[in-house]
């Protein structure tokens, strides 16, 4: 309030007085968490999809329960339950192994697990739709050529799958990027947490929240450009009719 632009810039400068370097580190944590979680979530998505079409009934039921639960619960609730419950579990185990010792669950790992669970529940649908788009014919053709199932997946299905899965996974990447902000609640020093710390000393909530909001928007816009480029790359060699942008 009543602050000039110069004072605002000073608050954001690098070094002892400004919060520039702290915010940059927060951005690093946000990106690290997103980048570490995403591959795990993608792999889990495939596993959940396979579990959902498994020949074994109980596995199918378990996979359905998994997707229903993690698509239904608010992400923050999943995160808190996972964080506190795993801490309780670790306490229980460590108390038996090393009396008097204590271990604590890292918020980074808890966030990574919780977000992987949530994103993969949605991701299994992306995988299912993409596999449908590739079509059963490809699997059957590969089978008639005598390819093993892993090899069929690796050499025939997967290369064709990406083209159909990129939009869906791109969406999930953006959701993941924004959902990492929730981990600030369990005190991981991501962008939001750093902003809250900065506000505690500077009393400038509007400036800092606007700034990190702009950073998130920038990341999301960049991601969608990258996604468009990947989609173009994956669609090389297909006619307009096949890629659907005729």
């Amino acid at each position: 309030m009543g602050h000039g632009t110069m004072e605002w810039l000073a608050l954001l400068s690098f070094g002892d007085k400004g919060w520039g370097d702290e915010l940059l580190r927060g951005l690093g944590v946000t990106l690290a968490l997103s980048l570490a979680t995403f591959p795990v979530a993608v792999v889990l998505s495939f596993l959940i999809h396979w579990a959902r079409v498994s020949r074994l009934g109980p596995i199918r039921v378990a996979a359905r329960a998994y997707t229903t639960v993690f698509k239904t619960l608010p992400e923050i609730l999943t995160l808190l339950i996972l964080y506190y419950q795993s801490q309780a579990l670790v306490d229980w185990v460590s108390a038996r192994l090393v009396p008097g010792g204590s271990l604590s669950v890292s918020p980074f790992i808890a966030g990574m697990i919780a977000l992987s669970l949530v994103i993969s529940a949605y991701g299994s649908e992306v995988v299912r739709a993409a596999l449908n788009a590739v079509g059963r014919g490809q699997t059957e053709a590969a089978k008639s050529l005598g390819l093993s199932r892993p090899r069929t997946f690796q050499k025939v299905i997967l290369p064709q799958l990406w083209r159909h899965a990129i939009p869906g996974f791109g969406n999930l990447w953006v959701i993941l990027l924004k959902d990492t902000s929730l981990v600030s609640i369990i005190a991981l020093s991501d962008l939001v947490h750093v902003a809250a710390l900065a506000i505690n000393t500077t009393r400038e909530p509007f400036l800092f929240y606007l700034l990190i909001g702009a950073i998130y928007i920038l990341l999301v816009v960049l991601s969608s450009h990258l996604q468009k480029a990947l989609e173009r790359r994956a669609s090389r060699g297909f006619t307009r009719l096949e890629t659907g942008d005729a």
Partner: protein, 224 residues
Amino acid sequence: MLDLWLNYRGLWLEGLVTTASLTGLAIVFGFFLALPIGVLRAKSTGLGGWLALGYVNVFRGMPLLVQLFLVYYGLGQFNSELRAIGLWWIFRDAWYCGLLALTLNTAAYQAEIIRGSLQTIPASVYETNAALNLTRWTAFRRVLLPIAFAKALPAIGNEFILLLKATSLVAIITVFDLMGQARYIFSETLDLRVYYIAAVHYLLLVLAIEWALRRIERRFAWMA
């Protein structure tokens, strides 16, 4: 687990009402805000279209948590100015701030849904409107909007469920919704089962909404 619910049933029910009312109000207010934005996104190539795109990108690009903080803490910084224009009562109260942020947020998502469904209306419908000599406004109100709404219904239903989950974030700005009550009861009891009880509430709410949505969708299916 049941004892933990019964001991605090007053709080749980209050939380349930707060969550339900925030979700319900935000989805309805958001829809009316989304209508003009969605129409501009679908139809306008000029300044209006750009502004609508800007709105959508800003409110879909920021985490909801940041939007809540920006409204509650950020705008709260301007309390003397807000007092002067008589809007302080909104920004002083976490519940109103939560409703405002949720409404602005869901409007951006609903606008994209409305744009999508407007764009999939086939050309023949427009030709029929022209052949019947309907004015643009009548055609929009009596033909295009109902069709677009029926087409958008499954997606809006989906958004309804996402919004219900998103309301849990208002607990962070001190609103006592389901999540807020759970946090409070947890701080009293330090019993982890509290969060599982909250989870059951959300699970039942979503299942009930999904059931209701399926029935509504069936009624409107012929129009889409």
